[in-house]
């Protein structure tokens, strides 16, 4: 089954490589990976979807935690979440077909962001099924080009990740003098 992980990492060079390299090395196949800034400049947030059974998912989480730059891992697969993917779809839209394409875009609540004599670009946001649905009905008109961002996900309700809700995770990181027995927390 597809598992969705939200992974908070230190915003440092090379961290994306470390995460991607981990999945490659342990032979876990990434379905989708997105990364971007959070409300804290020193923290980046990844949404990773992976095809894995429950046991593999637990090991993925444990292995992610072995990366020193990983702050927090949440497997939100079983939780109520808002999941969004964004796509831009360039569709062949000749004079005759144009009104049909516009109508379909409207049904899916897509937005037309570019109009050219022979084509349109439709921007659509939603879960993956919705975008797949629009793609399917646009296919007969000719999809010329398509790009998707991969999914981002957030839990419903007021529950937040501790990395984000705590004052500043990086400020809690001070070690003691000899470096031994230091307990770090996020």
């Amino acid at each position: 089954m597809l598992n969705t992980f939200v992974v908070y990492v230190e915003n440092k060079p090379g961290v994306l490589t470390r995460v991607a390299s981990l999945f490659r090395r342990r032979a876990f196949n990434i379905d989708s990976l997105t990364v971007g800034r959070t409300e804290k400049p020193e923290v980046s947030r990844m949404t990773i979807t992976v095809d894995a059974d429950q046991d593999q998912a637990r090991r993925i989480e444990a292995n992610l935690y072995k990366l020193v730059n990983v702050l927090l891992v949440e497997n939100i697969t079983a939780e109520p979440t808002i999941v969004r993917d964004l796509a831009m779809i360039k569709v062949a839209a000749t004079q005759a077909a144009r009104s049909h394409v516009l109508e379909l875009a409207g049904v899916f609540r897509g937005r037309v962001v570019d109009v050219a004599p022979e084509s349109l670009i439709i921007e659509i946001t939603g879960d993956e099924d919705k975008i797949d649905g629009l793609l399917e009905v646009l296919q007969p008109y000719g999809v010329l080009e398509m790009v998707r961002t991969g999914i981002v996900a957030m839990r419903r309700g007021s529950k937040c990740s501790s990395v984000v809700s705590s004052a500043n995770p990086l400020s809690q990181a001070a070690g003691d003098d000899d470096g031994d027995g230091v307990q770090y927390s996020v």
Binding site: T17, R59, A62, Y65, K66, V68, V70, G175, G179
Partner: protein, 570 residues
């Protein structure tokens, strides 16, 4: 006060307790070497950077302290790679310092530029690229902390030449590690302890599987307390040897591919496995589908990513082994186990009769004889054996009885030929009061024998026993068993090892008869300097028992029975 990056490097190392480093200079690390003259740290000049990494590893395994290797950029750094991977697979704490081209040149394919942080990403616990002197102190403190804490491992710090040259204000106190995501020390929940205790107290046929974690965690006393309180017998992994005394009546011996038959049978018949600081490597489990089919499993392990990786367990206690055992042991009830122990005794069956040590002298010199004699001669003294990889390594594990932790140093996980000689140098530097013996095959010895010069230059008393059978013996054995004795590329045409040693100024001896073994060992021990002994042993000898790769743990190729001589067709 203001210091250069080079000066900061050595000062930070001193503050981390480093007294010796193993290295090889070159262009991109020269500013650091220039600053070495002001440091109290002793630098051991190696002959190949792979040697430096293995020495740092041997140093770490002998002492429990972080070992340090230093190399220049490019080829210096890539030569460390095998040594780093060896340390990674065996959880050995080392810090590798590499020079890097100037930060302005990075990415330009400059002379001797290589992306060593990229190359070592999957074989280090963590690594760093430092481009400013001001980042150096904090980075080095983090590197040492990460290397030695939790499940230890190698950390590489790549320092650009300009970061070594430029100056900045050095303030050790304020350069505290900032590792907000790093959590090396987890502890089990009380409920998990309760579940483990229930399994232990209900078990009729329990076995403890003891691994390297017991040594790394410093838990040998706690292990002994647990074993004696519970009366549960102990089987050891290769890297666990020494963590529990061989002479203890509850020590069964080594398990796995070349473990004794009764040890593997005991595991297969057990109703509970208590795995302590081991990771169910394929070399100890055999075929997972048939592994200990009737046993519940308890896994005490510091690394949560090891839980349920190879073997699905019933209870996992994630934490430092010593801490977990200290919490567990007072709650252990003593149970009468004599029925189970008697049945294990019966499993030994005719194993003793088949053992080469109990066979009449055939006039041939066998490696098992050499190693057993070496053990008898060094018994009771403070001796550490450092082995290479192959047949001699397995015979060492079988015939050298280790009583103390850190008295065997060997490359287990990666199985790195060429490990022994440099790792022994590291071990001797770490513990000069210990007698260090290298037990090495003729193949592996030639991979890193250039380090003989390091032994001489450092004036180290290291004894070297080459188990010379003129073959890549373990590969030959696999060819014999599984490739129809097609000995492709395994016979070795060797140099005269005694002459090689003498060329380096090392005293040498050659032994071809069994009667010469003990005198040669005694003479080597009495001599003040390093000695190399070339033991010319039986060429086509075989390590028994053997669990073929992919076979069930109880399906062993046994030692030939002496009663049916004709079956001994090797």
């Amino acid at each position: 006060m203001m210091k250069t990056g080079g000066q900061i490097l050595w000062e930070c190392l001193e503050r981390e307790g480093v007294t010796n480093v193993f290295g090889y200079p070159g262009g991109a690390i020269l500013p650091a070497y220039d600053a070495l003259k002001h440091s109290k740290i002793h630098h051991v000049l190696v002959r190949h950077e792979q040697g430096a990494a293995h020495m740092a590893d041997g140093y770490a395994r002998a002492s429990g302290q972080v070992g340090v290797a230093v190399a220049t950029s490019g080829p210096g750094a890539t030569n460390l790679v095998t040594g780093i991977a060896t340390a990674m697979l065996d959880s050995s704490p080392i810090v590798c310092i590499t020079g890097q081209v100037g930060s302005k040149l990075i990415g330009s394919d400059a002379f001797q530029e290589v992306d060593i942080t990229g190359i070592t990403l999957p074989i280090t616990k963590h690594n760093y690229l430092v481009t400013h002197a001001a980042e150096l102190a904090r980075t080095l403190r983090e590197a040492f902390y990460v290397a030695r804490s939790g499940r230890p491992g190698p950390v590489l710090v790549d320092i650009t030449k300009d970061a070594q040259q430029s100056s900045c204000e050095f303030d050790w106190e304020s350069a505290k590690p900032q590792l907000p995501g790093y959590r090396p020390n987890l502890s089990p929940e009380p409920k998990e302890y309760e579940e483990a205790l229930k399994l232990i107290h209900n078990a009729k046929r329990p076995v403890i599987l003891l691994g390297h974690g017991a040594i790394v965690s410093g838990a040998t006393h706690e292990v002994r307390d647990l074993v004696e309180a519970s009366g549960i017998p102990v089987a050891l992994t290769l890297l666990g040897l020494g963590a529990f005394p061989s002479s203890h009546p509850l020590n069964l011996g080594m398990m796995g591919m070349h473990g004794e038959a009764w040890v593997n049978h005991t595991i297969q018949e057990a109703d509970l496995l208590i795995a302590l600081g081991m990771r169910f490597d394929d070399r100890v489990t055999g075929n997972l589908k048939t592994y200990a089919p009737n046993a519940k499993k308890i896994h005490v392990e510091i690394d949560p990513a090891e839980i349920n990786k190879n073997v699905k367990v019933d209870v996992a206690l994630v934490g430092d082994l010593r801490d977990v055992l200290r919490a567990l042991q007072p709650k252990i009830k003593t149970v009468d186990r004599h029925e189970w122990l008697d049945s294990i005794d019966r499993l030994k069956g005719d194993s003793a009769v088949r053992d080469i040590q109990n066979l009449p002298d055939s006039g041939h010199l066998y490696a098992a004889h050499v190693i057993n004699d070496l053990w008898r001669e060094t018994r009771g003294s403070n001796t550490t054996v450092v082995t290479d990889v192959g047949q001699h390594q397995m015979w060492e594990a079988q015939y050298f009885k280790h009583e103390e932790a850190r008295s065997l140093i060997t490359s287990g996980g990666l199985g790195t030929m060429g490990f022994a000689l440099p790792a022994a140098i590291g071990a001797k530097v770490a513990r000069p009061e210990t007698d260090v013996w290298v037990v090495v095959g003729d193949g592996g010895f030639q991979m890193t024998m250039a380090e003989l010069a390091t032994i001489v230059q450092e004036n180290l008393k290291v004894n070297i026993a080459i188990i010379n059978n003129g073959y890549l013996g373990m590969v030959r054995q696999w060819q014999e068993f599984f490739y129809d004795s097609n000995y492709q590329a395994t016979p070795l045409l060797n140099p005269d090892f005694a002459k090689v040693a003498e060329a380096y100024g090392i005293r040498a001896d050659t032994v071809t008869q069994r009667s010469q073994v003990v005198p040669a060992v005694q003479s080597a021990r009495q001599y003040g300097g390093p000695v190399l002994i070339n033991f010319q042993v039986e060429q086509e000898d075989t390590v028994y028992p053997m669990v073929a790769a992919g076979a069930a743990l109880h399906e062993m190729i046994r030692r030939p029975s002496p009663i049916v001589e004709t079956s001994a067709d090797e």
